[in-house]
């Protein structure tokens, strides 16, 4: 019996210790999260006069779009852009996406190939969004059996 009591006491003390640690952890975590979201501790500084300048957060800048181009990847702005950025530029560059122009059927075949051989994950509902973005923004061009020469940069050829 004595041993059982002793054991119970030990369990209680461990329980107390764990609870204290947990409470400390929650407080610290809350503090850290708060600091991350408000590093200047502005909440404790009272109200400030509204500034003329709008603060641009780093997160916004990371996926900044300028003139219809997602700057980080070079992809065109459009419905489904972020699904493409998040699913299609982890392993390879967006350059590989943009230089390929395929129809829906061939994009899906390409996705299957990447899933079978290149460790691409199941895209779920995003697959339709991604394929729609690709065929809308990077549609195939008809080139025929041989294109004319374009973008010739003319120069005087000296002897």
């Amino acid at each position: 019996m004595e041993g059982k009591e002793k054991f119970k006491a030990q369990v209680r003390s461990i329980y107390r210790l764990l609870t204290t640690l947990m409470v400390l952890f929650v407080i610290t975590a809350f503090g850290v999260i708060y600091l991350l979201s408000d590093p200047t501790l502005s909440l404790f500084k009272g109200k400030q006069a509204p500034s003329e300048y709008v603060e641009v957060t780093a997160e916004d800048d990371f996926d900044k779009i300028e003139n219809g181009i997602h700057l980080r990847t070079g992809l065109k702005e459009g419905e489904g852009l972020m699904a493409v950025v998040n699913n299609c530029t982890n392993c390879h560059s967006a350059l590989l996406v943009m230089q390929n122009r395929m129809n829906e059927e061939r994009w899906i075949a390409t996705i299957r190939w990447m899933q079978e051989t290149q460790n691409l994950w199941d895209l779920g509902k995003n697959e339709e969004i991604i394929v729609k973005y690709l065929v809308t923004n990077y549609p195939p061009k008809n080139k025929g059996r041989r294109e004319i020469l374009t973008d010739i940069q003319w120069y005087e050829l000296e002897d």
Partner: protein
């Protein structure tokens, strides 16, 4: 240390660094027009992203000085004094042209994995220097190359006894040979196919003819010994899969024994008289001229002598395979109806002058370039200034050695002022010529050997 140790100097975790920089709109790069004058700071940003996962600090720490020398491309004076963990400035430069020592007119098709091509006029040299040599990668360039511990293993179902060679053993035990060998990417010219074919959209510049030095693969295979069951060799290399899955092989291709045993098939350790640049396969590369350049595996660690057609990564499916029988453009082809590409077809490039030359009326135009024909020799080279109505002969040199490209030249007179296109057409020793139109469509857009042409104005 995580694979992201590079973030000490180039941090992905700090989005603020993107704030000041305007990143490039990449569309400009892949069409090959603007790249020469590309904004360097844009490229730096671009490369920082592309290179972020590369464990460069780790790479520096763990490599012998020889690797650094190869990567930097010159002797590192006082190299022994480099403190542990210090990144050489040359390697900190994230500009791909500096990093790979490429000419700034080279065109970046893809930065992850790195794929860079030349333009026709950049390939004017008889022997292609590194700065104009295309880079084709299926995966990530190896992060750690330790020459001292690098070994080549010969194994496989048909080897007599598996054998391991160090680099110095290879160099001392076997006689070395030097050949000029034409390496062309199977997908060179892919950008012209309609409907478009999947992959890097190469135009004309995924071809080179450098001088390779190494030992004959045959000598090494015979030293290890193989049985009559031997059918094919397959290589295994040190590059890293794009998904970074260590269980996946990026590319593991090969060739039938007959190709493996040719005099010119080398296990090379020098290119143009120097250590092979890292991006081109340092410290050991298989070089099989005249076949799709993917047969010439880079960063070779193992060669298996197989009792069957090698079935490694990129040997199956649509990769480096053509429909066995011709198909209509866009047609679906069953897996069993695809055949592995062997010799590349006859082809040529006009490397001088650059397209767009304007000359005065009455002046002759000198053109020159190279022609090659896979396993075969080029027997005739012609040009046309009237869209193929008439053809005139160019003077054509014999190859320096088998599988080296051949040089041609011609002096052209134009009948009157106006716009012309000079088309070049090579014919191989079997009488096959380059088509003026695109050859047979195939799912991955391989083997476009249509005539090259340049625009000329007589004023």
């Amino acid at each position: 240390m995580s694979t992201f140790s590079l973030s000490e100097d180039i941090s992905l975790g700090d989005p603020a660094r993107f704030r000041a920089r305007k990143l490039p709109t990449y569309g400009q790069m892949s069409n090959g027009k603007e790249t020469g004058k590309g904004n360097i700071s844009n490229f730096k940003a671009l490369v920082e992203i592309a290179y972020a996962p590369m464990n460069r600090r780790h790479f520096i720490k763990n490599t012998a000085l020889g690797t650094l020398t190869a990567a930097v491309g010159t002797e590192i004076v006082f190299g022994k004094m480099i403190p542990n963990g210090y990144s050489l400035l040359a390697l900190q430069d994230p500009d791909p042209f500096t990093l790979f020592r490429k000419d700034r007119e080279m065109v970046i098709l893809n930065d992850k994995p790195w794929n860079i091509e030349a333009k026709a006029h950049l390939l004017d040299d008889k022997i292609t220097p590194n700065k104009f040599m295309f880079i084709r990668n299926n995966g990530l360039i190896p992060e750690e190359v330790d020459v001292a511990s690098w070994t080549l293993t010969i194994d496989g179902e048909a080897v007599r006894k598996p054998k391991i060679y160090t680099l110095s053993e290879l160099k001392s035990k076997f006689k070395t040979y030097t050949y000029q060998l034409t390496l062309e990417c199977g997908g060179n010219g892919r950008s012209e196919f309609d409907p478009p074919a999947k992959g890097n959209q190469w135009t004309v510049g995924a071809v080179s003819c450098a001088e390779w030095t190494g030992v004959r693969l045959r000598d090494v295979l015979e030293d290890a010994g193989f049985t009559e069951k031997a059918v094919y060799i397959g290589y295994h290399a040190a590059d890293v899969h794009l998904s970074r899955d260590p269980k996946k092989e990026t590319i593991s291709r090969g060739a039938p024994m007959a190709k493996a045993l040719q005099d010119e098939t080398l296990l090379a350790f020098k290119m143009n008289g120097e250590d092979i640049p890292l991006a081109h396969g340092y410290p050991l590369r298989l070089v099989a001229g005249g076949w799709p350049a993917s047969v010439s595996g880079k960063w070779i660690q193992r060669i298996s002598i197989r009792d069957r057609v090698h079935d490694g990564s990129k040997m199956t499916g649509d990769s480096y395979r053509m429909p066995c029988n011709p198909v209509a453009p866009g047609e679906k082809v069953k897996d069993e109806d695809m055949c592995i590409i062997e010799s590349m077809p006859v082809k040529s490039l006009i490397t001088y002058p650059q397209s767009g030359a304007m000359i005065k009326e009455g002046r002759k135009l000198n053109i020159r370039g190279h022609a090659w024909a896979g396993e075969l020799e080029v027997s005739k080279m012609e040009y046309s200034i009237d869209f193929g109505s008439t053809w005139q002969n160019c003077s054509l040199q014999k190859p320096v050695n088998r599988l080296a490209w051949q040089h041609f030249s011609a002096d052209i007179s134009f009948p009157k002022k106006g716009y012309y296109e000079v088309w070049g057409r090579a014919t191989d020793s079997n009488g096959k010529s380059q088509p003026m139109l695109l050859p047979g469509w195939n799912p991955k857009g391989y083997l476009n050997n249509a005539c090259h042409r340049i625009a000329i104005k007589v004023t």
